[in-house]
């Protein structure tokens, strides 16, 4: 019964996320509302970590395969994408690299500064 109970809690939160998405006029998906709700519930102790942990970890472990249908779906949008293929490819590849470098290094520099201060 453990897994069923945990799955029920996770689904209930997903459902509440869906309701919020319906009520609030923001382009935020149900899953993000749900993630915030679960995080707040765990922090405040309304939901204990033990009552979602195993099922949650299972879902996270198999998460990559959930993106396969969306990836395969690219064949369906191939015709729309084709005329823009070259600029889109260049922009996509370069943006990944610039964002990773800037975001990673800004965080890394601030973390290192903090560590140096502690040592002094």
């Amino acid at each position: 019964m453990k897994y069923l109970k945990q799955f029920l809690i996770i689904l209930t939160i997903s459902f509440i996320g869906e309701i919020l998405k319906e009520l609030l006029p923001l382009p935020v998906p149900a899953s993000i509302y749900g993630m915030v709700i679960l995080f707040v519930c765990l922090l405040s102790g309304i939901i204990k970590l033990d009552s979602v942990r195993e099922t949650g970890k299972l879902l996270i472990e198999i998460m990559p395969v959930m993106f396969i249908p969306a990836g395969v779906g690219l064949i369906a949008s191939w015709n729309v994408l084709k005329p823009l293929l070259i600029p889109v490819s260049i922009i996509t590849c370069l943006t990944i690299v610039t964002v990773m470098i800037v975001s990673g290094h800004v965080a890394q520099i601030i973390i290192k500064k903090g560590k140096n201060k502690e040592q002094m």
């Binding site: 799955f7 996770i10 939160i13 997903s14 869906e18 923001l26 382009p27 935020v28 998906p29 149900a30 899953s31 993000i32 749900g34 993630m35 709700i37 679960l38 765990l42 970590l49 979602v52 949650g56 879902l59 996270i60 198999i62 998460m63 990559p64 395969v65 959930m66 993106f67 396969i68 249908p69 969306a70 990836g71 395969v72 779906g73 690219l74 064949i75 949008s77 729309v80 994408l81 823009l84 600029p87 889109v88 922009i91 996509t92 370069l94 943006t95 990944i96 690299v97 610039t98 964002v99 990773m100 470098i101 975001s103 990673g104 290094h105 965080a107 890394q108 973390i111 290192k112 903090g114």
Partner: protein, 230 residues
């Protein structure tokens, strides 16, 4: 038999998962980043569907249950985030500066390249939300008057490429701190990249999960400003 395969609800998904496991095995044996299980699986499935003349809608009859699990799985990303909450608190400044810098870099890069390559306003706003999670990105693209189908395709391609190249980029550009790695991956390649961050470690996964939510929300606000620039 052929007709049966064309209408089977389990065939497509079974092939996708088998190809995924084959990708995992190949990557382990050959230690090559190119054999990204997600990429192997997507390509193998596309090839099988094309050869067997199965259309995407038929495949999706079974595969939609995989997609269905995405919302509860994304909700569960709160779990590693909660487990790493102490780390988040003690690195608060670094975490939020990193994500904000990532969001601005994404918007600036798209703006610069779009104007260099002479894209139209519609094409430009289509690409603006490319680094964030699909559901938020779709909303942004729609609101700014972009081509939503292309936005979705570009977001998925970004995620898959991020998933494949995250480890290499972090290594080449000397991003060593687990917190910084997670933020970089999440800001650049949302949930699909986060799946990779999760494999790299608990801290990377938690920070990447946080980036999905925060960078998504920041992009909603900042993209509407950036839309005026081209």
């Amino acid at each position: 038999m052929k007709e049966f395969f064309e209408t089977s609800a389990f065939a497509g998904v079974t092939i996708s998962l088998m190809a995924y496991m084959a990708g995992v095995y190949l990557k382990k044996k050959l230690k090559l980043g190119l054999f990204n299980p997600l990429l192997v699986s997507i390509i193998a499935t596309i090839v099988v569907l094309a050869v067997a003349h199965v259309d995407y809608d038929t495949y999706n009859e079974g595969a939609k249950y995989l997609s269905w699990l995405l919302t509860p799985a994304t909700v569960c990303l709160a779990i590693p985030l909660y487990e790493q909450f102490e780390l988040l608190k003690s690195n608060f400044k670094a975490v939020f500066s990193g994500i904000l810098a990532g969001v601005i870099t994404s918007l600036v890069t798209v703006l610069a390249l779009s104007s260099v390559m002479g894209l139209s306003h519609e094409e430009y706003v289509t690409l603006l939300p490319k680094s964030i999670t699909t559901a938020i990105g779709m909303g942004v693209s729609e609101e700014l008057g972009g081509y939503v189908t292309i936005t979705v395709a570009v977001i998925i391609i970004t995620g898959v490429l991020g998933n494949i190249f995250a480890e290499i980029i972090c290594k080449i550009f000397k991003i060593h701190e687990p917190v910084a790695k997670g933020l970089a991956i999440g800001s650049a390649s949302h949930a699909i990249g986060t799946a990779k961050a999760m494999e790299m470690g608990e801290i990377e996964g938690a920070m990447s999960s946080l980036s999905i939510a925060v960078s998504g929300i920041l992009t909603v606000i900042l993209a509407s400003v950036f839309a005026n620039f081209l």
